[in-house]
Amino acid sequence: MPPHLAAQSRCSSRREFLAQAGGGLGAIALASLLSGDRLLHAAKGDVRSRPLAPKPSHVEPRARRVIYLFMHGGPSHVDLFDPKPELIEYAGQPLPESVGPVMTRRKVAQNPLLGPVKPFRPRGESGLPISDFLPHVSEVADELCVLRGCHGDSVNHPQSVYQMNTGSVLMGRPSLGSWVSYGLGTENDSLPAFVVLPDPGGGIKGGPVAWGNGYLPATYQGTTFRPGPAPVVDLRPQRQISAPQQQGTIELLRDLNRRQSESKGADGQLEARIEAYELAFRMQAAAPAVVDFADESAETLEMYGIGEKDTEEFGRRCLLARRLVERGVRFVQLYSGDTNGWDAHNDVLKNHSEYCRKTDKPVAGLLRDLRRRGLLDDTLVIWGGEFGRMPMSEQGKGRDHNPWGYTVWLAGAKVRGGFAYGATDPFGLRAAEGKVHVHDLHATILYLLGLDHEQLTYLRNGRNERLTDVAGRVVTEILA
């Protein structure tokens, strides 16, 4: 166990520990030990001022950064990545009684089964089956490691969005991206460690809390970026303030702070604030450069579908994600889907045709681009929703929420490509083999990043909290 994580689990009394602790600890130990970090200033100045400094991992990392493609609303695994011959065979009939009672959101348990709305075909050298909904992703099938036995605990959107993001169905726990920033810091101190690219179509079910820091310090929360010249709220001064004018004000501010520090003596807390302003000014310069695609070739833009009506928007965000991780941002999360998104209650064909059309080419382009730049070897790409969809029909052609069995795929990060792990039951209703609970998925993601999910803890109200609570198994079967 690295010392910075070991320290806090030994600790029984915060002050006792702090009294013993000299300098030289990593930022985490102190930052996490304190529910408010105001005591930190008396420790090493740099500890407090750089809570996002890169930190050592627990085990050899396979990935250094993450791009998480979150398909909000719940894409249908049985129509995209999990072919079920029985579902074709029994289409139109109800589930056999042997399946037992099924908890659903909209009481669809007795409805007739709905066969896959588009055919599946083997793809790539691996022969991994993918449906005709996704012609572009099919071309990069050999990159995908498809987890078919995923499952979660709630049939409701917000609870499942929270669980997929934070491990808990309750509102307000720290998100995966926050945990990763907390555990690993960032390699670029001009940009946030954890960036979220929301769908411009509308907010998700559960709201921005889904990428919140929960009880972790605010430093670790997701920062939303949007395309366009001002990607971060208040990144730029108000329109009446010109750049040279702002520079003048910055100099005055530096002078005021320096004089105060000189008269009162050096102080980690005040120094940290000065550093936070410097970081803000660097971010002001760096962030617009990230969203400016002028240096991208026409061919690259084409790969992402930029310039085509349907794919322009999501393609831009995929490219932005690559540019962010390329610059050292640790964790980028993209949402596809407005408030309803992939939530195909009344017509899977219509809904998924629309969302696949918007995302298929950009996602494939992202994987290809990362591969050719050598980034995919140590970048983890995650694709999935908050749950999948029921094999039974709803309103004839739609499907209800299904948290009991669904698909998430991973790519990059030295996971096995062209590989399907686990299985749902013959109808695609419940995870049956190679089951991967959300906690297991989180444990695996952390493992790929070199973090041990049992060691990545934060002391709160006397308890060492974890992303995976008291569960979580690393799915080692998928490692290449």
Binding site: N156, P208, A218, I241
Partner: protein, 738 residues
């Protein structure tokens, strides 16, 4: 074909899993054993009776005048650290003003205080601050953090709670009236039960109902289970600093709280009707209503009742089919057959002619319904009822024979009665520790909501007990305790070995002390100096508005939604941030801004305002670049800088006007006189900045000019003054409290 087992995992199970400390939960009632409390467990410091200690005798005469000082200095002596001298008057004034009122002193108040040489000048200042209504607005926020107060439900729909604000106003008012803490507790737990004839007394029970809620969860039983568990856990955490929530699935891993204790605590709340607002009319409203009803034709009352009945049928039918959607009246009627629809139309026609009845206020309050049987819920799962339990007090804290309630007809009042008994070992200790934390930044016991074995032991246990006894003896008065704490020497110490009022020798001597004490106690556990604190988001905003004379004095009522940047609101569902109130409302104190669970007011959000999803006992004090961007670039900051420039320009004209404007700005933002050197540098900035604007060839209409001030002679100089004000609002000296 394989037979698959039903795998329906409920929310409750998920809660169970996420809250469990070790997977050791009983599967069946037969497995469920009640583990006795051991003597060893009873010997933990927090559960022992509050000790009777006398302030120790210390050698240093300056530390003998105040009982708190005797305890604090004695601990310093024992640990070989020396205190810094007290801070100078200007720093002290700023400190105590923000601390007690959440607002900076005005230039006039500074002048008066600095000029007052009387020996009790500071005590008079403290009394004035405690008597000001700003005090209640300040301390209410501390309490609302604990109460996880918000005006919406959270989760997907994040629906508004139109009456939630009444509880916020009640807290402010109770604090301003210095309501004794025992009564404060009794009303929040059981105001409705204790004063059944006074509907307004129920408003305080809003405390219990502040938590997040998911009204459209699959099963209403599940919803109730989750909310009642959250309620019991919050009560345990806030009043007792015991993490009861850890025992909702199985026995607490570290502390002597068994699963039975948890569900016995929850049992006090079991029979409440919690998912709708109740009428809480004032006496006047009720009288008017009764008078109107008396003269109204009874056919209208019957029609009203029948209409409600029909709509309930339609609403339930709709929700059966569309659990995700809240039906409109049209959708409700769509569910009713033709006959019902006709009837509804007729009723509506009839009622259109009915004389309107005066409205009754409604509140988000507790009200006892039909008694319900309380159970232990195995593994915390609402589908697995275990043995029946009755409301009774946690065994670790209750004397023998004290376990059962005497008045099962008003269970919450019984719980409140037990909590507020004068010799309760925890309640007074917990609250004086919180008060200490609110004044010093860190409690004497550093984990204010966890006095269990995993929480830190108090650094000054005898002082903690002395304060607890004193608090009860003084009639559970917050204001007396504030006065006692902030008039101690310990509270008044300097942060750093520097003060504008000290001589060079004094500074040199203080540096020596600092070097020695810093080496011996780098964390300041022995309180040898004041710990510097960053202003909270609310204080930053309120202080900017005070500095430019723009803070509104309006109070109370539903939370205000000031305009926000579109990129902030676009992550929300539609209509979740509709601007409310007028321009002046938008300049009210932070506590009156609308509290939406899914979107915190951005400035407060970046400055660590808690998310209201769980009780927050201690805010983070993080330092982030996003804070800097917000404070430096936001429209609010620039607007305040423009107002401030207008306000300081108002008082100056003619020669030396720059110097006088700078002096004014220092008074208003740093709350102290500016030094000659600072004025010179400020003037240099103004002329340099104006020159920069001139070099850029800036047009007047492109500049951010002072607002509400006199028309500037030189717009470029005036814009430079705005920049100067903006820099002050971003300086450490403004953002931190020494």
């Amino acid at each position: 074909m394989k037979v698959f087992r039903a795998a329906a995992v409920s929310l409750a199970v998920a809660v169970a899993l996420s809250a469990s400390h070790r997977p050791r939960a009983a599967e069946t009632s037969a497995d469920l054993k009640e583990v006795p409390i051991t003597d060893d467990e009873r010997s933990h410091w927090a559960y022992l009776p509050i000790g009777a200690f006398e302030p120790p005798v210390v050698n240093d005469a300056r530390w003998r005048n105040h009982p708190i000082d005797a305890f604090v200095k004695s601990a310093m002596d024992a640990n070989s650290v020396e205190p810094l001298p007290p801070a100078g008057k200007a720093i002290l004034l700023r400190r105590v003003s923000f601390d007690l009122a959440g607002l900076p002193p005005t230039p006039k108040q500074i002048e008066e205080f600095l000029a007052d040489d009387s020996p009790d000048a500071y005590e008079k200042l403290v009394d004035r601050l405690l008597a000001s209504p700003a005090y209640g607005e300040r301390f209410a926020q501390h309490w609302l953090d604990l109460a996880r107060f918000a005006e919406t439900d959270g989760f997907e729909h994040d629906l508004e709670r139109p009456n939630a604000w009444r509880y916020r106003d009640w807290v402010i008012d109770a604090l301003n009236r210095d309501m004794p803490y025992d009564e404060f507790i009794r009303l929040q737990l059981a105001g409705d039960e204790l004063f059944p004839d006074d509907p307004q007394a129920a408003v305080a029970t809003g405390f219990l109902l502040c938590g997040p809620d998911m009204p459209d969860i699959n099963l209403q039983e599940e919803r109730r289970h989750v909310v009642l568990n959250e309620m019991a856990a919050t009560v345990g955490s806030v009043f007792l600093a015991v993490q009861f929530g850890c025992a909702q699935c199985h026995d607490h891993k570290y502390d002597p709280i068994r699963i039975q204790d948890f569900y016995r605590l929850r049992a006090f709340f079991e029979s409440a009707t919690i998912f709708r607002d109740h009428p809480i009319p004032t006496a006047g409203e009720l009288a008017a209503r009764r008078a109107a009803e008396a003269v109204r034709d009874p056919k209208y009352r019957e029609a009203d009742a029948r209409r409600e009945e029909l709509e309930t049928i339609g609403r339930e039918r709709f929700r059966q089919k569309n659990p995700d959607v809240y039906p409109t009246l049209k959708q409700i009627l769509g569910e009713l057959g033709n006959d019902y629809n006709d009837e509804h139309r007729q009723l509506a026609r009839l009622l259109k002619d009915a004389p309107p009845l005066p409205r009754l206020a409604e509140g988000r309050v507790m009200r006892d319904g039909e008694p319900r049987e309380a159970h232990v819920w195995l593994r915390g799962d609402f589908r697995q009822p275990g043995p029946v339990v009755n409301g009774s007090f946690p065994r670790i804290l209750a004397a023998d024979g004290e376990l059962a309630t005497e008045r099962p007809d008003r269970p919450r009042a019984e719980l409140a009665r037990w909590l507020t008994k004068p010799d309760h070992p925890l309640v007074a200790r917990v609250i004086v520790n919180r008060l200490w934390q609110w004044h010093f930044g860190v409690g004497l016991a550093a984990n204010p909501s966890d006095f269990g074995v995993m929480g830190a032991e108090p650094t000054h246990p005898e002082l903690l007990d002395w304060l607890a006894r004193r608090f009860v003896a003084d009639g559970w008065s917050f204001k007396s305790m504030h006065r006692l704490i902030v008039t101690s020497r310990a509270y008044r110490l300097a942060c750093a070995p520097f003060d504008a009022q000290w001589s060079a020798e004094q500074i040199a001597a203080a540096r020596e002390i600092r070097n020695r004490s810093q080496a011996a106690d780098p964390q300041n556990a022995w309180l040898w100096r004041r710990s510097r604190r960053r202003l909270e988001g609310e204080a930053i905003r309120d202080a900017m508005l005070v500095a430019c004379d723009k803070l509104s004095v309006r109070t109370g009522g539903p939370g205000i939604r000031p305009p926000l940047a579109p990129e902030v609101t676009e992550t929300l569902l539609k209509d979740q941030w509709n601007v409310s109130g007028d321009g002046e409302d938008h300049r009210r104190r932070g506590i009156y801004l609308f509290v939406r669970r899914n979107l915190r007011y951005p400035l407060f959000d970046v400055f660590d305002r808690p998310d209201t999803n769980a009780s927050c006992a201690m805010r983070h004090e993080s330092t982030t670049a996003t804070q800097s961007l917000t404070q430096f670039n936001s429209q609010l900051s620039l607007e305040c800088a423009r107002w401030l420039a207008g306000a300081v320009a108002q008082h100056v004209s003619g020669t030396e006007s720059d110097s006088r404007a700078i002096r004014q700005a220092y008074w208003r933002v740093f709350n102290r006189p500016a030094g000659e050197d600072e004025i010179r540098r400020g003037r240099e900035f103004l002329s340099r900045q104006a020159q920069r604007l001139r070099d850029e060839g800036r047009q007047v209409d492109s500049l951010a000019l002072p607002l509400d001030g006199p028309k500037p002679d030189d717009p470029l100089a005036a814009a430079a003054l705005v920049d100067f004000c903006l820099a002050l609002f971003n300086a450490n000296e403004f953002l931190y409290l020494d």
